[in-house]
Amino acid sequence: MSEVTTEEPSHPIAIYFWVWGLLFVLSAMSYMVDYVQFQGYLRWSLILLFMFLKAGLIIAVFMHMRYERLALTCAILIPMGCLLVLIGLMSFEANHIYDTRGAYLDAAPGIMLVDESEKLH
């Protein structure tokens, strides 16, 4: 029987160099997205892809989440799902505000009205 606060098993140093290198490559790739001026959905999906890959590597390896007790992993990662609700609700509302601003009060009058009417026909 060992002490409850046994020290972490040691990981080979190679994995940290690998992740370090991968993070460099992924950062360079997300910088290139701007450098070569990709636009629209291609730009947004590439930014999100590289962002989630980087975040995943940092959390899983650097922060040792993959070696952690499953109970702790669940307690930390599951509550973050609430943020999706927040983001969803706020973007839903933001679209509505943008539409009403365009329709009623902006300095550039009628921006949204024109766009919306074009969409309808």
């Binding site: 046994t6 940290y16 701007d34 450098y35 930014i47 499953l70 109970a71 702790l72 943020l83 933001a94």
Partner: protein
């Protein structure tokens, strides 16, 4: 499933269950929840969870003002461009800052590893290297802020390039992140000293709380540091690149 039994500090036996049944066992054991996880580490994770919510709220409000404004958003690629030796390079300072922060995360992860192996010299060196990377990051941020304020005329309430909300979002988000980095550098220096003087190795009581800590403290401050890097990943994607 290999069930293992360990004893806690009071000598009581604790069964360690792995996998999904382990989640149930951990939560329902009527004892400390996360078996074999130092309490300080669990608490740091909970702090980071709450900090995640703070930064997410900042980024979500940035999303909201950017989606609602009918004035064009300033082109970050141009706003953050620098002219280096006559070459106009978009976003270059931000890219350098990103690489520096990632490098600091790399040295920190290795410091944690060598800390658990009780290699005092290399652990101290790696923590100090991390702190140095962090301090240079803050220095570059000071340069970036002063350039934006003095040369570009960007204010929290307006700017010459477009939507007024650009300045308030930028100063709020990067300012709060820079504050986290600065606090992290101070924490790293304190922990580096603890490692160097052997306070952790000999489990001497800390000067502030009087609690005894071992090398898990290096991992705990490392968690904070990686989180700061993690937040930057999201700021880089959503504020600078989007």
């Amino acid at each position: 499933m290999s069930n293992e039994t360990v004893v806690d500090e009071a000598g009581r036996p604790i069964e360690i269950v792995e996998g999904l049944p382990g989640v149930v066992a951990d939560w329902s054991s009527d004892q400390r929840v996360f078996k074999r996880v130092p309490w300080g580490k669990a608490m740091m994770w909970f702090f980071l969870l709450s900090d995640t919510f703070i930064f997410s709220i900042f980024l979500t409000s940035y999303m909201t003002v950017r989606m609602t404004t009918t004035v064009p958003w300033p082109n970050t690629s141009e706003v953050f461009a620098l002219t280096v030796f006559g070459n106009h390079i978009p976003l270059i300072l931000i890219a350098i800052m990103t690489f520096i922060l990632i490098s600091s995360s790399g040295t920190m992860a290795m410091a944690v590893k060598f800390g658990y192996e009780k290699k005092r010299k290399i652990t101290t060196f790696l923590i100090l290297a991390t702190a140095l990377f962090g301090a240079s990051f803050v220095g570059m941020q000071v340069f970036e802020w002063s350039k934006l304020i003095v040369e570009e005329g960007i204010r929290p309430w307006g700017n010459p390039m477009g939507a007024a909300q650009f300045g308030s979002s930028f100063f709020m988000i990067t300012g709060f992140h820079g504050f986290h980095v600065s606090v992290g550098v101070i924490l790293l220096l304190i922990v580096a000293r603890k490692v160097w003087t052997g306070d952790l190795e000999n489990r001497r009581p800390g000067f502030f709380t009087g609690r005894k800590g071992g090398y898990e403290i290096v991992e705990i401050v490392g968690l904070y540091w990686h989180f700061v890097d993690l937040v930057w990943v999201f700021i880089f994607a959503f504020f600078y690149l989007w």
